[in-house]
Subunit: 131 residues, 2 copies
């Protein structure tokens, strides 16, 4: 019985680690990171910016190919952000996931709402390497 408990515990660890990887947290899976930076127009209101932040976060619910999503506002002390204030990190399992995301109606609708208050955008994608 002791051996059974140990075996089931190991199964538990394995299953949970698998869950971590499937959630896109394992840098060894070769996932694609889609890094998006925004600078909003000076006359964009706090309410308009908050609506875009909320809208972007909604996309992970509308587009299952988004396997991980996070974002934040610039707090670098280095002063090298070129005016960009927002950074979003969207993760796809592979090229196919990104290929579904980019033309997805939910993404296109987001861009339509974004454009009127956007000053500039920068996007850089990479397939994750750790060495």
């Amino acid at each position: 019985m002791k051996r059974l408990i140990i075996t089931m515990l190991l199964l538990g660890f394995t299953a949970t680690l698998g869950g971590c990887q499937m959630a896109g947290h394992n840098p060894h899976t070769g996932k694609i990171r889609h890094v998006v930076m925004f600078k909003f127009k000076d006359d964009a209101t706090a309410e308009q910016v908050a609506a875009i932040e909320k809208h972007f976060a909604q996309l992970k619910h509308d587009i299952p190919e988004i396997v991980d999503y996070e974002w934040g506002t610039n707090n670098s002390p280095e002063g090298l952000a070129d005016g960009f204030t927002h950074c979003f990190l969207v993760t796809f399992n592979n090229d196919a996931g990104r290929a579904i995301y980019l033309p997805h109606p939910a993404h296109k609708d987001f861009v339509t709402h974004l454009k009127p208050i956007l000053d500039k955008v920068m996007v850089i994608d990479y397939t994750v390497k750790t060495e």
Copy 2:
């Protein structure tokens, strides 16, 4: 005994999830992502660029405050990378970790080697949010 097995299994899951968080893979821990983008000078050789890529990866071994590190070269089909070719994602547990990293001699030495072949750099940091 059945209840004991279930309890120990749950402990296993909890302990492993805790491990994921400690490894900096849980976006809910408020970690800082330090996003660094490079465009190298046109006359930088492939060997010089490869040496910088290797040097940056070495920093996680020299500076324990780097709790997660990944990077890659731009493969976005959108053409919005403003000439930047490299993106590095460095993770710190908090402001204190970043405050140790930025002036760290190993980081300063890296920058000294980088500058002669660097055309431009962009840096944006954010404390992770998921909604």
